[in-house]
């Protein structure tokens, strides 16, 4: 019985972490192009989705290398 007082909160925590991870990935747009992502795994030069920050960084590197 006492073990349950530990196990139940642990189970719930793990569930909540999973749920949070799902929400995070949903907000990150990981479910927007499932067909495309299935093919993307085959590219050599696949890069992660650019966020606003990385887009700016990419812009800056391009400016400097020009």
């Amino acid at each position: 019985m006492t073990i349950l007082t530990i196990l139940i909160p642990v189970t719930l925590c793990m569930g909540v972490i999973g749920l949070a991870a799902f929400f995070w990935s949903l907000r990150g747009g990981q479910y927007e192009d499932l067909t495309g992502d299935a093919a993307r795994i085959l590219y050599d030069e696949d890069a992660p989705l650019p966020s606003a920050k990385t887009a700016r960084r990419a812009a800056m590197t391009k400016e400097t290398t020009k």
Partner: protein
């Protein structure tokens, strides 16, 4: 839809989806493309390009590699599902035209896609909201089930109470969050005095939660937390699938949308031409319209000669010449010459606007269609409520006032009859059917289209662009090789559809040609192998050669020589005959509505076996014809593509359009087929019939389940364990039955197998 949607009508794909890619090179195209760049954060510009040509991961990699290597592109990302590329440019004023040209060199036609408006964002948010609610409900259902299994397998006393308490702690927030879609819909239903399917759901969940909390507080043996949350989870799956399917099909349809004339090049006071949007255009403005551009508003030509493609307006397939003082309707395609024209009416009074208003009017007739699930709910919800209430009263009377037990039994009736299987029965079948249609190259707007399709008893086809491809074809060709190569040489220099058809049909190598001039409205002239030659209208060719009286156009002749006439006919769309035969074979009479002339309509009708032909039909005639069918009690399928069909497509019980249709046609149609083959019509009808059958079976399963479950519940034998088992069991049964649609489809469609096989490979 009102004036705001005038701009939805635009360049159709016929102009662009030929063998060669057409670049956006006109001044109007450039101006519009530049106007499509939207400012985003950090001073960058975002341009969303629609790339209908991408098919696979390879295309995605090629495009991204090419675009990301460019200096003027900050980043590019291709979405294969939507067939779109989001390109980040250096600034909101950056010019995306070079990028479109680069893509064309790679072999992908690209046009700026409509940037999603506020309405689209809303539905996108709704589908994400449903997904979140589903995830939360799933989380709750899993955890509560774990605890419930503990209780079912014999947890007693203190342990059971703790488990119940933990379940309550999970269930209350989960129901509060995940139940919102149902609560909101139930409330709005009640406010309008209707009982929809969400009312029993909301009531059952809330009551079950309340009673379970009460039972937990007093240490009772049975609580319904698990049932309440699992019910929400299953129903949210159904709701999300329904939403997902509609979203998919709609985004695929908008992905197809081509650049529409949202503006025109208008003459300024200083005589130069500048881009102006449609709303800013006043009557009297002088517009310049280049070849391959659509006329944006109703105009009268001031100067310049040209040929026009009026097929979208009138359904007439062959190009017609036009000159000063001719009046053109908005939506006409200018083919050969640059014209200057005076705007006669403002954009919201133009022919296009009238068409859109007619379409909106016609659509309201179909708006009264009630989806099967809603019809079922209308019958089902009152029955469930009355039964639960009767059970409660009965138990109170029998037990002599034990309201707690009575409430427990009444709630278990509500839960077990809750339309869990019913909620899944329709969306699951529709999603599976939509997947099968998608593999066949048919996009569907929403599930009710499938339901309406299965009910048709009449089919009406438009001619130009639907039964025929809209591209002219040459019948006989002259025997003289010199004439053939001369004609081909001239024909190759023109973008006139008739000239293209001639060039395609003549196999010979083309002759040397110099000094060629295209005279818009007449034809093309040049010096071929040292002799002057003309290809064009017979009267015009007669000026330099002997042309027999009454010779057909287009004609070709060398100076002083005799002429040959090319016999232009329309090309039947692949599978047109098969589609008509399949529908007739299934006992559905087929008719043809054409805006074209009697003779041409009759010829096509004879070729594919349609006897019931109405020709020279105006858009209003077409609506009248469909309204007549409707008032005679018929449910008609309309297949059409043009602007002149858009209103009729909306007026019909259900409608289909090819992907080559005008934007207006695609907006109005319920189904859009992407491949050129008209077989899609009969195949879609078959899928709709199969789906309707599976939906009926699913309803039968759900009813059969209720027939067993309700007596048990009323008798008070339903413990939470039985409720959970029954609910999951019936849902799984319904899903399994719907999945048969995938398999049944390929096996039962013996006749159009050829199509299915080809389509599946292509997909």
């Amino acid at each position: 839809m009102g004036a705001g949607n005038v701009s939805d009508i635009g360049i159709d794909m016929r102009a662009t989806e030929g063998k060669s890619l057409r670049l956006a090179t006109g001044p109007l195209d450039r101006a519009q493309t530049r106007a499509s760049v939207r400012a985003i954060a950090d001073g960058l510009g975002l341009c969303v390009l629609s790339l209908p040509g991408i098919r696979c991961g390879g295309c995605v990699a090629t495009i991204e590699r090419a675009l990301n290597a460019r200096d003027d592109v900050m980043s590019a990302r291709v979405n294969l599902t939507l067939r779109q590329a989001s390109v980040t440019l250096a600034g909101p004023d950056a010019d995306p035209v070079p990028i479109i040209e680069a893509l064309a060199e790679l072999g992908y036609a690209a046009t700026p896609a409509e940037i999603a408006g506020a309405g689209d964002d809303d539905t996108d948010g709704a589908s994400k909201g449903l997904l979140r609610a589903m995830a939360v409900a799933g989380f709750g259902a899993m955890n509560i089930m774990l605890l419930s299994v503990g209780v079912w397998s014999g947890a007693e006393g203190q342990t059971r109470e703790t488990f119940h308490l933990v379940s309550a702690l999970i269930a209350v927030p989960v129901v509060a969050y995940a139940g919102q879609p149902f609560f909101r819909s139930a409330l709005s239903g009640l406010r309008h005095g209707r009982l929809n399917m969400d009312v029993p759901i909301a009531l059952a969940v809330v009551l079950a939660l309340a009673l379970s909390l009460f039972e937990t507080a007093r240490g009772g043996a049975h609580v319904f937390f698990d049932a309440a949350v699992t019910l929400l989870f299953f129903l949210l799956i159904g709701r999300y699938l329904d939403h997902l399917m509609r979203d998919r099909a709609r985004s695929a349809v908008t992905g197809l949308a081509r650049l529409s004339p949202r503006g025109a090049m208008v003459r300024q006071n200083d005589g130069t031409f500048a881009y102006a949007s449609l709303d800013a255009m006043a009557p009297g403005a002088i517009l310049s319209i280049a070849p391959n551009e659509r006329v944006p508003v109703d105009v009268r030509i001031v100067s310049g000669d040209t040929d026009l493609d009026r097929s979208l307006v009138t359904g007439e397939a062959m190009p017609v010449p036009a000159g000063p003082d001719d009046t053109l309707e908005a939506g006409t395609l200018n083919l050969t010459g640059v014209i200057e024209a005076e705007a006669l009416r403002s954009a919201d009074e133009s022919f296009l606007a009238q068409m859109m208003r007619m379409q909106a009017g016609a659509e309201s007739g179909r708006g009264s269609y009630v989806r099967i699930a809603d019809r079922a709910a209308r019958l089902y919800a009152p029955v469930v409520h009355i039964m639960a209430l009767a059970t409660f009263i009965g138990w109170v009377l029998v037990t002599g006032g034990d309201w707690q037990t009575s409430a427990f039994v009444a709630i278990s009736v509500l839960i077990i009859t809750c339309p869990c299987a019913l909620g899944l029965a329709v969306p699951v079948a529709h999603v599976v059917a939509a997947g099968r249609l998608m593999r066949m190259g048919v996009l569907m707007k929403d599930g009710s289209a499938l339901e309406r399709m299965s009910e048709i008893d009449r089919a009406v086809f438009d001619k130009t662009g639907t039964l025929t491809t809209g591209t002219p074809m040459i019948g006989s060709i002259p025997d003289d090789p010199a004439m053939r190569s001369g004609a081909k040489a001239l024909a190759q220099r023109s973008i006139h559809p008739a000239a293209r058809a001639i060039a395609r049909r003549l196999p010979d190598a083309s002759a040397q040609i110099v000094d060629e001039v295209e005279v818009p409205g007449f034809g093309i002239q040049g010096v071929v192998d040292g002799r002057r030659a003309r290809l064009g209208r017979a009267e015009w060719v007669a000026e330099i050669a002997n042309v027999a009286d009454g010779a057909a156009s287009p004609a070709f002749a060398f100076e002083g020589g005799s002429s040959v006439s090319f016999d232009l006919s329309e090309t039947l769309r692949d599978g047109a005959g098969d589609a008509v035969a399949a529908l007739k074979g299934a006992g559905i009479p087929v008719a043809m509505l054409s805006g074209d002339m009697a003779e041409r309509a009759a010829r096509v009708g004879a070729d594919i076996g349609i006897a019931d032909i109405r020709h020279v039909a105006t858009p209003a005639d077409k609506i009248d014809a469909l309204d007549a069918l409707r008032s005679a009690g018929h449910r008609a399928l309309m297949v059409g593509d043009g602007l002149n069909d858009a209103a009729a497509l909306a007026a019909a019980h259900v409608s289909m359009a090819p992907a080559s249709a005008s934007d207006a046609g695609r907006t109005a149609a319920d189904f859009i087929f992407l491949r050129d083959n008209l077989d899609a019509v009969a195949a879609t009808w078959q899928v709709a019939r199969d789906t309707a059958r599976v939906v009926r079976q699913n309803f039968a399963l759900a009813i059969a389940y209720n027939c067993i479950a309700i007596p048990l519940a009323v008798a008070g034998h339903v413990t939470p364990l039985i409720a959970a088992l029954a609910m999951s069991g019936s849902s799984i049964l319904v899903i399994g039955n719907a999945l048969r649609l995938n398999r049944a489809g390929t096996a039962s469609r013996a006749e159009p197998t050829r199509l299915a096989a080809g389509a599946e490979i292509a997909a």
